[in-house]
């Protein structure tokens, strides 16, 4: 009836709203942005709905696509697919998360994998494509013919031969029933399920390792004189993804990383108890927070760094003795 009208979609929506720490989403369904890197574009305006992925985020999609294809054993990009009004699109466009979509299995992938396997077996047969379609320049229904051929060779039961039947609505007319078995085009033949699943598990576990991970790289303190100290905290991201995608910033759904020092505001001569940090890029990106403080009556000051997607770490500032 309207977006999120169904109990199922509402339950999923509520789940991700209650789990803002979700940094990567993988949806298995009709859509596919892993077989082929999606197109990016510059956002037209902050007030207009986006229709393509922010070009600054495309690189992360490309990288995850490479992980995906490597896990499946594909050596090139295949066709992608989009599905309007999907959970997957919502998670990127409205909620700013890296949202990956894949078909758990497709004939196109299966054909490509068989081809790759054949190549491996006969590394010398260069032009198996032109060889097999030799003399046949007819390109009509090329995709369907390839699929039928694959099913003939790998899962012949997936296709039921057309047979005439008597149909009450069409008396005295020739009616035939046949074609693909239901779901044959979207699910692997039973014998392949285990192998396909193993590949996806491989992909998912690798993907999970690409999440951002926040850490404290360095804490520096310097005595400036009397009871005044300078404190420098370096926060790093040792994960692969940044603490927020560009779309996470645009939508403001991924909150900035915050650094909270356990010290009353009155001790700060510069800086404040609560600091929000800019996005920290992955693979060792670092940002720094600097404070000038008047020493409190303790030598150790705790602090915490909280990143919505990159975790939460605690640290301690140890003030050196004033010499």
């Amino acid at each position: 009836m309207h977006p999120v009208s169904e109990a199922e979609t509402r339950a999923i929506a509520d789940f991700v709203v209650e789990h803002p720490n979700v940094g990567i989403v993988v949806t298995y369904g009709d859509a596919d942005n892993l077989s082929k890197t999606p197109e990016g574009a510059r956002p037209v305006s902050r007030r207009k709905p986006m229709t393509a992925i922010d070009e600054d985020d495309v690189g992360y999609y490309r990288a995850m696509g490479e992980v995906y294809r490597a896990a499946l054993g594909l050596d090139k990009e295949l066709e992608g697919a989009s599905a309007g009004g999907s959970f997957s699109d919502w998670m990127y466009y409205h909620r700013g998360r890296l949202s990956l979509a894949a078909r758990a299995w497709s004939p196109a992938t299966a054909i490509e994998l068989s081809k790759a396997a054949e190549k491996k077996e006969e590394p010398n047969s260069e032009s198996d494509k032109s060889g097999k379609s030799g003399g046949d320049d007819d390109k009509r229904n090329e995709k369907e013919r390839k699929e039928l051929k694959w099913f003939d060779e790998n899962a012949a039961k997936a296709f039921v031969k057309w047979r005439p039947v008597e149909h009450p609505d069409f008396p005295n007319r020739r009616v035939e029933v046949g074609g693909y078995v239901p779901f044959a085009l979207t699910n692997p033949p039973a014998a392949m399920v285990e192998q396909v699943t193993a590949k996806h598990i491989n992909f998912l576990t690798t993907a999970a390792q690409r999440l951002p991970r926040i850490g404290v790289r360095k804490i520096e303190t310097r005595h400036l004189g009397l009871s005044v100290y300078e404190v420098k905290i370096e926060v790093e991201n040792t994960g692969f993804l940044p603490t927020s995608l560009a779309q996470g910033l645009t939508t403001r759904e991924v909150h900035p990383t915050r650094l909270v020092v356990d010290l009353d505001d009155k001790y700060f001569l510069s800086g404040a108890r609560f600091t929000t940090l800019p996005t920290i890029r992955g693979s060792g990106g670092v940002v720094e927070a600097r404070y000038t403080i008047k020493a409190p009556d303790r030598k150790k000051i705790g602090f915490e760094v909280v990143s919505m997607l990159g975790g939460r770490v605690e640290g301690t500032i140890e003030l050196p003795d004033a010499k």
């Binding site: 009836m1 999120v4 709203v17 709905p49 919502w90 909620r95 009353d264 404040a272 609560f274």
Partner: protein, 598 residues
């Protein structure tokens, strides 16, 4: 209990007699000069009152319409109306708010005339923005008025005989109670949200620092401030200093402190979203449409209303009251949003009538004349359900002096000074603020600006109701006005059925037809000894052209019956005896008419 009352009364009578005797004696002893001490009888003035035009003499339920009622107060009014008018009302909850308050619907219709569920329905809500309080009184007044005038005025009697009203006085009871009991920002619902992205929700709201029961404004004497007191109205107005002039004050926003120690004041108030941006048509997320919340109909209040509307497909028109500005708003909410030209024509006609009924109100298209808004109730009611809807923005300062343009700040100050006898602002008083030091707290009361003063309130309620009743009256009203039979041969007949829509709004709007929102209107025929051979809609009644249906000739589907027009349907039947024609229109009702074949 009864016995005791009787005996009490008996004693009272005796006492009176005694006192009278005493008075007679006393009177005899004093001079007539003491007439000054005589007092009128303290009877019940209502027993000696005469009605002005506008409401009937007998008031079964007494309500003072020059004040505001919280959720409990509104509930009491609705429940008393239901008790006093059981044959006209049904009272039920359509769901609960975030904080668990019931969202009441009072269904008003003549329950014994026709099937209430099949009458064209007028949906009316108020107060989706919690601070826009007089909207709820407008809805409650409508219920009160309709109940009391049924049987008194022909117009109201037919309205309740022919139509059903779904009256939802407040669909944001949490916001309402917050505003009435406390004040401050209460446009939102009550779900805590993290407005400032610090991982905490609603941790820094405004507060009543000086304990005067009101949340007003803070200012500080400041040689670098850019504001100063108005020369003529220093108690009422602050103005910007001239560019080359020193100011006296800085403004510090509404009363509050830095509750969470983040160096900001009142930055994460209660709620913080806008339920009128949460509807499931042309919805956009928060970064595009501020206040939209997580997804369409995410809030229990909007969700309950959407489910209610979906469960009542007979709703043919809707009004959602807001304040303020004196506007009759219609969609779409964005440039290029859904609006079929023939629907726009009908809406424009109805709101033109409104401009004459509501002095100084202006008829506006939301995105074009006010501002673009994604996912408002107007969008969903029309775009999603094909219902012709308005949102009236109640009250305009143009009504302070009844002038076509808004009065100046000075004229408003004069209104407070001379008409309100100085009411409307809280005098500025000093206060020691933990961050700012010595400041002053005061300024406009929350009741000033968006709602009328008590003596103009009843007028506001009545006029808006009158406009919405006109809107309701324009809902489709269909009738089988004629059934003509013509004998074509032995047991063979041609039957022409004429169905009229006697009002302005079509049975199905352009949006409804284009998006298959409701089922088509179905005209069908049946009879025990009847076989339908052919049927179709008459496309030219003079040349007798008919567009025959391909299958199932006993039923003809019509896209719509336009306002103030008629359609004709032809059935070719074989048979004899009685036949019955049924017209089944989701939004315009169910009609049946029987006749004998000649």
């Amino acid at each position: 209990m009864k016995h005791r009352i009787v005996s009490k009364r008996y004693i009272a009578i005796l006492l009176c007699l005694f006192l009278c005797l005493f008075a007679l004696v006393a009177f005899g002893q004093t001079s007539l000069g003491n007439a000054r001490s005589r007092k009128p009888k303290a009877g019940n003035p209502a027993r000696h009152s005469f009605p002005a035009l506008g409401i009937s003499a007998e008031r079964k339920v007494q309500v003072a319409w020059n004040r505001f009622y919280d959720h409990a107060g509104l509930s009491a009014i609705l429940s008393r109306l239901h008790k006093a008018f059981p044959e006209l009302t049904k009272l039920y909850s359509i769901g609960k708010s975030t904080q668990g308050r019931d969202i009441w619907c009072l269904e008003v219709t003549a329950r014994n005339v026709g099937d209430p569920d099949r009458k064209p329905g007028m949906y009316i809500d108020g107060n989706i923005h919690g601070n826009e309080v007089q909207t709820s009184e407008t809805v409650a007044y409508t219920a009160w008025y309709l109940c009391h005038q049924y049987g008194q005025l022909d117009k109201v009697t037919s309205l309740l005989d022919e139509r059903v009203f779904y009256l939802l006085a407040t669909i944001n009871p949490d916001g309402r109670d917050l505003w009435l009991h406390r004040g401050g920002s209460a446009r939102s619902g009550a779900e805590p949200t993290d407005d400032d992205g610090d991982g905490l929700a609603d941790e820094d709201d405004s507060e009543d620092l000086n304990g005067d029961g009101l949340i007003t404004m803070m200012r500080i004497k400041d040689p670098h401030g850019r504001y100063k007191l108005h020369t003529d109205y220093p108690e009422y107005l602050m103005v910007r200093a001239e560019p080359d002039e020193r100011g006296e004050y800085s403004l510090l926003g509404s009363e509050g402190i830095d509750n969470d120690g983040d160096g900001r004041i009142n930055e994460d108030r209660r709620g913080g979203y806008d339920m009128n941006r949460n509807w499931g048509y042309d919805w956009q997320p928060n970064y595009i449409q501020h206040g939209a919340m997580e997804y369409p109909f995410s809030q229990p209040e909007t969700r309950a209303v959407s489910e209610f509307v979906l469960a009542h497909p007979n709703i043919a028109a809707a009004q959602c009251y807001h304040n303020s500005g004196g506007m009759i708003l219609r969609g779409p909410g964005r440039e290029g949003g859904a609006m079929h030209s023939r629907d726009e024509r009908v809406l424009a006609l109805i709101s033109q009538r409104g401009e004459t009924m509501l002095p100084f109100y202006r008829s506006y298209i939301l995105w074009d004349d006010l501002y673009p808004a994604w996912g408002s109730s107007l969008d969903w009611l029309y775009g999603g359900r094909g219902i012709l809807s308005f949102a009236n923005e109640l009250w305009t300062s143009r009504n302070l002096y009844r002038t076509p343009s808004s009065p100046s700040d000075e004229q408003e100050a004069e209104f407070m000074e001379y008409v309100l006898m100085g009411e409307g602002v809280v005098p500025w008083r000093e206060y020691e603020h933990p961050t700012y030091g010595t400041i002053e707290i005061g300024g406009e009361k929350k009741e000033w600006g968006r709602i009328p003063p008590s003596f103009l309130l009843e007028e506001e309620l009545h006029r808006n109701m009158a406009f919405t009743l006109y809107h309701a009256e324009m809902m489709p009203l269909i009738e089988i006005s004629d059934i003509t039979t013509e004998k074509l041969g032995e047991n063979l007949y041609k039957i022409w059925v004429t169905i009229e829509n006697q009002r302005l709004i079509p049975t199905r709007t352009g949006q409804d037809v284009a998006h298959h929102v409701s089922a088509p209107d179905i005209v069908s025929i049946e009879g025990d000894n009847l076989r339908v051979l052919s049927a179709g809609r008459v496309t030219d009644r003079f040349f007798k052209r008919v567009q025959a249906v391909e299958r199932r000739p006993e039923r003809v589907e019509l896209d719509t019956i336009e306002g103030m027009s008629a359609v004709r349907v032809q059935f070719i039947v074989e048979g004899k005896g009685q036949f019955t024609v049924t017209v089944d229109s989701t939004k315009a009702g169910l009609l049946k008419k029987s006749q004998l074949l000649p």
